[in-house]
């Protein structure tokens, strides 16, 4: 039972990271109906941005709340700029192209980011700066509540609430929702679709940036290919919850994190990467629209 609770805490903190990254996938999919394959590499760049910021400012070994905030902001800024650039130069010229071409371009962008950062940063893993002192905050029997887990949960909850505020209450959020329902009608009613799409990329990418810092805190090892696997899992989380659906991405992320943690704990750790794809295939066979998604009928 104590094991079970401990795994639940770990799973929730892992799952909230998946949820943050899944939100980026789901937002872009909701607006453009495309899988942004490069999202996982935006996330990777975010981790490196935080790494180099910490190194330049000399706060690699000074854990604390201010370090966390500085690294979060630097990573978010770097990710947003990168997301903007990708959208502007790779995806915007293909707005009217067939979906397959956009998909191939997205894969191309992803590979380009991965391999050019292997050249820029070196292929060997780097140690992420220590952000929070990793001590046990509270202990209930054998269940430990670590500071890192609490920070991960806290930061992601704040980020998700902020996202919810942006989407539900602000003007740009309203525009995003309008574009995702029908881009053409939205543009007729005076919404600048291109601006809205850029803003979506900015928001989604900064969430990935937050996620990268949180992952760096939890597993302090970063390398240029780190985004590949976590990106795929976050994507599976988005599909599990129903792609295009914001609440679904959060739910899917948490479910993914929990199930992964339990599979590793009670079955076998070697299959943890295969699990995500197993879930994906099951979801796609039995409920292709995801848990919270609405299935739509295609009209000619």
């Amino acid at each position: 039972m104590q094991d079970f609770l401990q795994h639940m805490i770990n799973g929730l903190s892992l799952g909230s990271i998946y949820a943050l990254i899944a939100l980026g996938y789901t937002m872009v999919y909701g607006i453009l109906q495309m899988i942004n394959f490069a999202h996982s590499d935006v996330y990777m760049i975010g981790a490196f941005a935080a790494f180099y910021t910490a190194r330049i400012l000399g706060i690699e070994n000074s854990p604390g709340f201010s370090t966390l905030i500085i690294l979060l902001i630097s990573s978010m800024v770097a990710c947003s700029l990168l997301g903007l650039a990708i959208e502007r130069f790779a995806y915007r010229p293909l707005r009217k192209a067939p979906k397959l071409n956009i998909l191939i371009t997205a894969i191309g962008v992803s590979l380009l980011l991965e391999y050019s950062s292997q050249i820029l940063f070196g292929a060997d893993p780097k140690v992420f700066p220590e952000i929070m002192q990793d001590s046990v905050l509270a202990e209930f029997g054998l269940v430990q509540l670590k500071i890192s887990d609490i920070t991960v949960l806290g930061v992601s909850v704040v980020a998700m609430l902020a996202l919810n505020y942006i989407i539900q209450k602000t003007k740009i959020g309203k525009a995003m929702r309008a574009v995702s329902v029908n881009a053409r009608v939205a543009s007729m009613l005076g919404v600048n679709v291109n601006t809205v799409i850029s803003m979506t990329f900015v928001v989604g990418s900064s969430l990935a940036g937050i996620g990268s810092v949180l992952v760096g805190m939890k597993y302090p090892k970063i390398d240029p290919l780190m985004g590949m696997m976590i990106g795929l899992k976050a994507f599976v989380a988005a599909v599990l919850g129903g792609i295009g659906n914001i609440m679904g991405a959060v739910l899917g992320g948490l479910l993914m994190g929990l199930s992964e943690e339990y599979v590793v704990a009670y079955f076998s750790s070697t299959y943890r990467d295969a699990l995500a794809f197993g879930i994906l295939i099951l979801v796609l066979i039995f409920r292709p629209s995801g848990l919270l998604g609405k299935s739509s009928v295609e009209k000619v």
Partner: protein, 334 residues
């Protein structure tokens, strides 16, 4: 250019190339030539799914891995024939590899091909990863250490002459190359092929014309996986060593780059791109000395992928074949 449409003539041409490679060159070039044939098989078979049928498979390396592991394991553990007939083992294991991969293609394709493009890409990617992870965990095929000591295709003793093993493997690979080319070529000129094309052009319209789109896609997928399995079998006997990391995501991406660069829906385009992509790293090998051991290959590939999509979305060849260009430019000038 008409000879390209005659299997026998094409085979004779390839035998001549094989003889030149056999006597005129060293082992390095011979091995590279086998890789070229393997990659041509990969590109042609992926072109059937990605190019002609308009689906997007990202897990082609998974099928190749299945074929390679099956053929390697079978030829090491179940030698049915010995002595001069040993070559028959390889014929059988290669065929078996193809059938196993085709079966896997059916199992994967049936549920996932009902989905639309993006999802299919992810599912096939996931399938490729599942295969790789499973192979890593299977100890009887070596796990992460890989499988070494895979036998090469042996010398062929005809009684009055002995054909060297390189020549035999070249001919064997050529046989599969020619088979793959003509099977796909003839299918694309039959009503089944028209079905593939119609699914690519407009799925709803195809369905309205009475084509079972899922079945059509599965057919293309199964055929494509069959040849990917064969390519894997040829690959493992050429290198004598395989490991799960030989069939990672990058291998699938290589195949996709071949198809996309060559032109989605062009057989000769895929073949040209496969030859080019296989030889490029060998040419760039000398460049590595200037860049200090850094591999720019993947950066160049990914950039060219983006640029091709932005500037020439249909690929370099588009949907035309080399023979069409021949008709258009050379015949007219006469």
């Amino acid at each position: 250019m008409k000879f390209l449409k005659q299997p026998a003539l094409l085979a004779i041409g390839m035998i001549c190339i094989g003889l030149i490679l056999n006597f005129g060159t060293n082992a390095y070039i011979q091995l590279t030539s086998l890789f070229v044939l393997v990659n041509c098989l990969m590109a042609m078979s992926l072109n059937l799914v990605n190019g002609y049928t308009g689906q997007f498979s990202l897990g082609h390396a998974g099928f190749m891995a299945l074929g390679a592991y099956f053929s390697a394991y079978a030829s090491m553990h179940w030698p049915l024939f010995s002595g001069p007939l040993a070559i028959l083992n390889f014929v059988l294991t290669t065929l078996g590899s193809g059938l196993l991969a085709a079966f896997a293609g059916y199992v994967v394709g049936l549920p996932s091909l009902r989905l639309k493009g993006d999802y299919l890409a992810i599912v096939t990617l996931g399938f490729g990863e599942i295969i790789r992870v499973s192979l890593l965990n299977m100890d009887f095929v070596g796990g992460a250490r890989g499988l070494s000591g895979i036998p090469s295709i042996p010398n062929l003793d005809l009684g009055f002459m002995v054909i060297e093993h390189y020549m035999v493997s070249f001919l064997f690979s050529t046989f599969w190359f020619v088979t793959c080319f003509f099977v796909i070529w003839r299918i694309m000129h039959s009503s089944h092929g028209r079905g593939f094309l119609s699914v690519r052009e407009d799925e709803i319209a195809a369905e309205a014309m009475g084509i079972d789109t899922t079945k059509t896609k599965v057919r293309a997928f199964v055929l494509s996986s069959f040849f990917a399995g064969v390519a894997g079998a040829l690959f493992c006997h050429a290198t004598n060593y395989i490991s799960p990391s030989s069939f990672n995501f990058q291998k699938s991406v290589d195949a996709i780059i071949m198809v996309v660069l060559g032109g989605m829906g062009s057989m000769s385009g895929s073949i040209c791109a496969a030859i080019f992509i296989t030889l490029l790293p060998e040419i760039l090998r000398s460049l590595k000395e200037y860049t200090g051991g850094i591999d720019f290959r993947m950066v160049i590939y990914s950039l060219s992928l983006i640029l091709v999509m932005l500037l020439r979305p249909q690929g370099l060849f588009g949907q035309t074949e080399i023979t069409d260009l021949w008709k258009k430019y050379v015949k007219r000038s006469n």
